[in-house]
Homo-oligomer: 207 residues x 2
């Protein structure tokens, strides 16, 4: 009688982990962007992707002329989020969206501060060795914003590398992404189901 | 020969709208919360729901003692979002999550401002005529936050009506919800697929 390498009870015990690994590795490689003739087509549906964080750097805290006077609501596409949860890495084909939101009200019944007003712009960054083999970290940057703050372009050309990537290279915490300001990414890095919120009683994860 | 009420070409033209209405009305009524023995069980997975907006009312803009010194990242459950997109109303069984995030850094390469630090708390509000027939607007409020800012409770009792609902009643724009500060809800109210972002070139929607 031959002896199996793994006993049946051991096999059963490791089954959930095995299923998880197989499910993670067979995830389809759908991309959430389209590049045609070298231009990124404006992404859609991103408000139903996974939100990762919002910084605000208003004019009055920056001598009246902030480089980025709006709130930046940042999203990651769902499949890259699923990959991030398991591996803690940005997969080939990751797209992050930065939706620009004007500072609206500065006072409410809850106190003085900054409250989100109108949508005023849209930017995106994509990591792809296939499309951007020569960009640092394989990240490229795009803007669909227009000066009137009321319309978006339909397509966007890749921004010059130096205009975005140099700051990201110098200051972003994790693979050119400012994860230090995005608590959902920070706490969720490689933490599996706990990344989705509310699973653990402890909030220490990611500190 | 009998005459049909609608001509075939007219029927074909209205088909997409019909399919949309049928799809919208047959949405299942899944709920994203569990109330047991009068207590709300801590929701999970909300970071994968639909994000609607973030206000911040920091201490230093409120004489050092803000009522809400954190960022508030607000989410709506996916099914209530689907309903909101089509009808512009909060359905029976809507749950909104408010994840509290400490102000972290106040300066970055992008400028001076407010950047999201650590998760420090979790609150929720639910609209249900079934569970809260006597609450104004049928909304009830819950908090899983703890004073140590490092842990969450597993369950939460309903807050006294006056502690939350009075401000919401007096100042919130739409059915006790502060939609005036949540651009995703404001722009998405009853706008169908356009609510998901990037579909239209115009950003005027919801202003």
């Amino acid at each position: 009688m031959h002896k199996s390498l793994v006993s049946l009870p051991t096999f059963i015990k490791t089954l959930p982990a095995l299923i998880f690994l197989i499910a993670a590795s067979t995830v389809s490689a759908a991309e959430y962007f389209t590049i045609e003739d070298g231009e990124l087509q404006r992404p859609t549906g991103y408000r139903e992707w996974v939100y990762v964080g919002t910084p605000v750097t208003p004019d009055e805290l920056n001598d009246g002329k902030a480089a980025f006077p709006e709130f930046h609501n940042v999203y990651i596409d769902p499949e890259s989020w699923a990959h991030w949860k398991v591996t803690g890495e940005f997969r080939e084909g990751t797209i992050l969206i930065k939706e620009l939101v004007a500072v609206g009200s500065k006072a409410a019944v809850s106190g003085n501060g900054y409250f989100q007003g109108d949508f005023v712009g849209l930017e995106a960054t994509i990591k792809s060795a296939e499309y951007f083999p020569n960009e640092p970290g394989n990240w490229a940057y795009y803007s669909f914003s227009t000066p009137d703050l009321e319309t978006l372009t339909t397509t966007a050309e890749q921004m010059p590398t130096a205009s975005c990537n140099s700051c990201h290279d110098a200051s972003a915490s994790d693979d050119f992404v400012f994860t230090q300001y995005y608590p959902v990414l920070r706490a969720g890095k490689g933490t599996g189901p706990a990344a989705t919120g509310g699973v653990l009683s402890s909030l220490i994860m990611g500190r």
